[in-house]
Amino acid sequence: MPGFLLNRALQYLLTAAAASVIVFALMQLLPGSAAQVALGTEATPEAVRALEAQYGLDRPWPVRYFEWVGGMLHRDFGTSYVTGAPIAPVIADGIQVTLIVVIASIAVALALAVPLGALAALYRSRPLGAVIGAASQVGIAVPSFLAGILLVMVFALGLRVLPASGWAAPIEGLGAFASHLVLPVTALALVQAAILTRYVRSAVLEVMGRDFLRTARAAGRTRTGALVRHGLRSAAIPVVTVAGVQLAALLVGAVVVEQVFVLPGIGSELVRAVSNRDLVTVQGIVMVLVLAVLVLNFIVDLLYPVIDPRVRRGA
């Protein structure tokens, strides 16, 4: 087991190192420069060159790459071209917002998907199963930004019970915090719940055909009772895997919903940085996202043996 984890950790480190090279290289290919954007339509070429020199963009790329990576190893993400301020706090602020939204969404999604998926499996040949199946189909077909727009139309513009956009940090009051959180979380959670429901359903179906469940039934348990007592744990493995992947996708893809709801998350910061060609900020954010996804995968790896003793015993 420790060997397996060490192996995984090494894999992730190599992935992170490769990602840093790729991210940096892609940034160099992007047309346009931070100096041009900062100086705008009144700029002279000389002024642009002078500002590029001041940003250090005129130095050879290996120097800039190792300076950037070296800084990150000391948790220094560098200084933004645009604000002149350190980047690390900006990333911290943004990732905080995005994590709150994304984790709340996946939690709500799981809370909906596990019971619904199990019900859909138990009642698969009855109307309830069909209804849940159809609803989850629709949920998968609706992109979360569209769900967001519809939710805004109903709850912010129609009923006027929730704000249409914006963000309030928890310290600004829990009521304001929650009211700004509800719509974006719902928009993301509905779609995720639909996807996860289908996985839970098929995982439960698969488990229900297994011998140990038949044995449990033979020992006198009801179908539902046997499933809850013995089946869910087994069914959890594929669901946790998919939820992990979905969580990673949400983290990276939340930018769309952040735009709809004007949330100051990491995605909005990324869009702004790309538009300003604030490349050190872009690189920093992308690396943090890469690391977050890797850490997430690692956590999922760690979860398997906790959920399923068979994995622990290396079966």
Partner: protein, 500 residues
């Protein structure tokens, strides 16, 4: 078990979240406290707070006249008015200006505004990174004659200069507090920045110790929305009170039909939407090709189709609020037949040219209709959409790798920049340089007359097609007062905003 417990906690959390969300409510009520506060939705967001190093109209709109002040300001009608200077005199040779500062003016940190602050602020402009610093290039010396008198000597007489002084280059900083301009702003204006949340909002708090007329609102908030629909939704749901400079005319109609709840204001701006053509190289080096474009493009149809008819046809590079404005819409009347003839004469039929279009709503809308109008005349545009600002600035603006483009030039009195030497338009500026210089150095009357000729020459040379003047579209709740109609200066003044 673990799974079940986690699920139960998640459900409980979700329910709690939903419940607290519903009870919190969102729509603002009309309480007295709210009447002291106004929230304005803005589209372009400042990259930082330092216009000395960063270009972009958004910084000036947030800070000029609200936090920072110049000696003079531009009124809604385009005329100069006193600001930090209560009066000024011009010497007989038009090269020396003597400004008397307002009595009792102070910065928000309590320091008095002195002639020395003005001098050090203006002396520092030469070190700015923002290229707009060129507006102060004619200044020879700034002298603090006494505590309250500033004397500014120019290298040569310049009518343009005093007007330019009302822009960001005229901002007066506290000589003892200008170290972190990107994140803090200490000025002499009626507001201070109470909160600056990048990417979200700037909160302006009215100064209790302001030396001039007290602002109506205690607090004004600029909230930034990249997406016009999100901004319009925020107004409809009551989260904001004013939509400043709406970038989506199709949303304007929603509000126009509901005049009991909203007021809609259409004013003018300094933004000339220019269909630029590369005069220096390629297909449009030939004047006949440019003339063909001038005849082929039906500007009225472009305005109606692309921007819902909101805007003004001007025919030249000068907005009506400038003293040298002249209606030039008659110089190149729409004439499809003539355009076709010119295209054939010049042998341009079927020749492809590069039309680089910024990925902005107005530009893509305009490109669609202009391309089809040009096709009717036999001109074949190959449209390339470019990310704005980064890619457009790099390829079209800096490298001049384009034949045709379209962009809204928003700077005030920018005709001599846009058609100056080395600019991306590639115009032969020798045709206007002498005339422009003479006008600038002459009397006010000579300035207006001379610059009119310059503007006419540029239009007659078909240097570019001036499609229309960008409108200043503002929507507000019916009770909001003091909204300026036109956006003709660097500022978006908020001191006058209040509730009826």
């Amino acid at each position: 078990m673990r799974v079940r417990r986690a699920a139960a906690i998640a459900v409980a959390a979700a329910l709690a979240l939903a419940a607290s969300g519903c009870s919190a409510g969102a729509g603002k009520s009309g309480s007295d406290e709210d009447k002291q506060e106004i929230t304005v939705a803005q589209t372009a967001e400042p990259a930082n707070l330092d216009f000395t190093s960063t270009s972009g109209a958004a910084i000036g709109q947030a800070l000029m006249e609200n936090v920072y002040q110049s000696l003079v300001r531009v009124g809604d009608d385009g005329r100069l008015e006193p600001a930090l200077a209560k009066s000024w005199e011009v010497s007989a040779d038009r090269r020396t200006y003597t400004f008397a500062l307002q009595d009792g003016a102070t910065f928000s940190n309590g320091h008095p505004v002195t002639a020395q602050d003005v001098k050090s602020s203006y002396d520092r402009v030469a070190k700015w990174k923002n290229p707009l610093k060129a507006k102060m290039a004619d200044v020879d010396s700034v002298t603090a004659k006494d505590e309250r008198t500033v004397v500014i000597a120019l290298h040569r007489p310049s009518n343009r200069w005093l007007f330019d002084l009302a822009s960001i280059v005229g901002a007066v900083f506290d000589d003892r507090a200008h170290d972190d301009l990107a994140n803090t702003a200490v000025g002499s204006g009626p507001f201070t920045i109470e909160k600056y949340a990048r990417g979200q909002e700037i909160d302006f708090a009215a100064r209790d110790d302001y030396w001039g007329d007290k602002p109506h609102a205690r607090k004004v908030v600029f909230r930034y929305f990249k997406d016009s629909v999100a901004a319009a939704n925020a107004l409809k749901s009551g989260d904001v009170d004013v939509l400043g400079n709406l970038q989506a005319p199709e949303l304007f109609k929603d509000f126009e039909s509901d005049t009991s709840a909203y007021q809609v204001i259409e004013g003018t701006s300094n933004g000339e939407v220019v269909l630029s053509m590369n005069n220096a190289q390629g297909i449009f080096k030939d004047k006949r090709a440019r003339e063909a474009v001038m005849y082929a493009v039906d500007r009225k149809a472009v305005l109606d189709t692309a921007w819902g008819g909101h805007g003004t046809l001007i025919g030249g590079m000068v907005p009506p609020t400038d003293p040298y404005y002249e209606d030039l819409t008659g110089v190149w009347p729409h004439d499809a037949a003539k355009a076709k003839r010119l295209v054939e004469e010049a042998g341009l039929s079927g020749k492809e040219f590069a039309f680089t279009v910024p990925n902005l709503p107005y530009a893509t809308a305009i490109a669609n209709i202009v391309t089809s109008q040009l096709a009717d005349a036999g001109l074949k545009a190959k449209v390339e959409t470019q990310e704005f600002p980064a890619v457009w600035l790099d390829k079209t603006f800096t490298k001049h790798a384009y034949d045709m483009s379209v962009v809204n030039h928003v700077e005030a009195r920018d005709i001599l920049t846009v058609f100056g030497k080395g600019y991306y338009t590639g115009y032969d500026s020798a045709r206007i340089d002498a005339q422009a210089k003479a006008a600038d150095e002459g009397t006010e009357a000579q300035y207006a007359a001379g610059m009119k000729k310059v503007a006419r020459t540029i239009t007659e040379d078909a240097a570019a097609d001036f499609l229309f003047l960008f409108p200043n579209l503002v929507v507000a709740k019916a009770g909001v007062t003091g909204i300026q109609r036109n956006q003709v200066s660097d500022a978006f003044p908020i001191a006058g905003l209040g509730w009826s």
